[in-house]
Amino acid sequence: MKKMIFAAAALTFAVSASIAGPAEDREAMMKSFGGALGQLAPIARGEQPFDAAVVNAAVEALNANAMKFDVAALFPAGSGEGTDALPAIWENLADFEAKAEKFKADVAGVAANPPADQAAVGAALGVIGGNCGACHQPYRAKRG
């Protein structure tokens, strides 16, 4: 009996997790990108000295997370309701996927050849950052 209750509770949990899941998963992933970029920006801005260890770690973390960016899992149809993800994503899914792939490729490119000085960190942020806007322009709701 106890087992059954446990199983039922576990099932309920699993179901609710999979309903609320994609939006939370993708938000967590976006935040992880932000965390990695947040390590790089103060160096690009000259607020912190260039430190190869910090830069390499941030770039690797960003790349590792970016590789997990799976449109099908994170943006299943119908998962936009109540979030900032606009219906345009699913109306232009091929374009959305292409933009996600370009983002991953650009991050992988930076990770393969990590920036070696302050200027290169700024340049890398420029390459990566363009991808953020490219998707957030058509596919994320305006917010304040």
């Binding site: 990108f33 932000g34 965390g35 920006a41 363009g130 953020c132 957030h136 322009q137 305006k142 304040g144």
Partner: protein, 308 residues
């Protein structure tokens, strides 16, 4: 019978007087010839800075483009608003489809009075209410620069709105209420940097056109300058960028305008993406001046309702 006759005459007279008043109040007003004649010759190299500050490409180039595509000014962007759908025209130097046949008087009247070369009012979706604050040098330089970009064939479709907004003459009344080239914010003891920022934000940058709420007649509520607004395009909101709404440092603001990254490493989104791309093209001093101005203006509570 006598009374009815008198009433009829009075009614006709009143209608006539109203029509005359409407006609007179809504005459498209332009620069006197001697003012335009005094515009300096433009410098195209200087004008490029004004082009980016003015955000021309945001509406007149195809959205989402990069590099050379931002200089292809064929128009066609549709702004869907409560008043109807506005279509941005071709402003490339094409002689018939664009503005290649214009002279500086045509250009200055369009930019600062919102009047077309054939004497019609433009809809204020074209932000001449802000451009009216530009200095003549910058208008002339911008015009010179616009002559250097590629001529693109193809006329964008005409903007067609429903009644009563389809009566362009009515915009003359709207301009009497809302077209005022005076500076908006009064900032005591403003530094030269803040004043430059004020010029860029309130003039060419036309930031207030989206970041300030509008009243029922579509005019900006200048008492809530830059307090944020429900997006004119209906989806979402445009944030409050007064010190009460934006806690970022001046350096954060300048960095955001340069790179599109917020201080917490979110990124620029929505129509601000193209604006930020334009701002990234400016000299660093201009972005720093804009930031200094945004830190110096009076704070206001959000100009839009609380979210969800």
């Amino acid at each position: 019978m006598k009374l009815i006759g008198k009433l009829a005459i009075a009614a006709v007279a009143l209608t006539g007087a109203s029509a005359l008043a409407f006609w007179w109040l809504t005459i498209p007003r332009t620069f006197p010839g001697e003012v335009v004649a005094a515009f300096p010759p433009g410098d195209a190299a200087e004008g490029e800075r004004i082009f980016w500050a003015g955000g021309c490409a945001s509406c007149h180039a195809a959205p989402g483009g990069d590099g050379e595509a931002r200089l292809s000014l064929a128009g066609g962007l549709r702004l869907k608003t409560d008043f109807g759908e506005f279509v941005a025209p071709n402003i490339s130097p094409h002689p018939t489809d664009g503005i290649g046949a214009w002279d500086i008087a045509d250009f200055a009247n369009a930019m600062q009075h919102g009047v077309s070369p054939d004497g019609r009012h433009y809809y204020p979706a074209f932000p001449y209410t802000s451009y009216a604050r530009m200095i003549p040098d910058d208008v002339a330089d911008l015009f010179a620069f616009l002559k250097t970009v590629p001529a693109v064939e193809g006329k964008a479709p005409e903007t067609r709105l429903g009644f009563p907004f389809n009566i362009r003459r009515g915009i003359g009344l709207w301009k009497r209420l809302h077209l005022d080239p005076a500076p908006v914010a009064s900032i005591e003891g403003a530094s030269a940097e803040v004043l430059l920022g004020q010029y860029l934000v309130e003039g060419p940058g036309h930031c207030g056109e989206c970041h300030t709420p509008r009243d029922l007649s579509g005019g900006l509520k200048t008492g809530e300058w830059l307090a944020g607004a429900v997006s004119a395009e209906g989806q979402g909101i445009v944030p409050n960028i007064t010190p009460q709404g934006l806690s970022w440092s001046a350096s954060d603001i300048a960095y955001y305008l340069e790179t599109g990254f917020t201080p917490d490493f979110d990124s620029v989104g929505g129509s601000m993406v193209d604006v930020q791309k334009n701002m990234a093209m400016l000299p660093a001093e201009d972005r720093e001046a804009i930031a200094a101005y945004l830190k110096a203006i009076p704070g206001h509570p959000n100009g839009y309702p609380a979210r969800r």
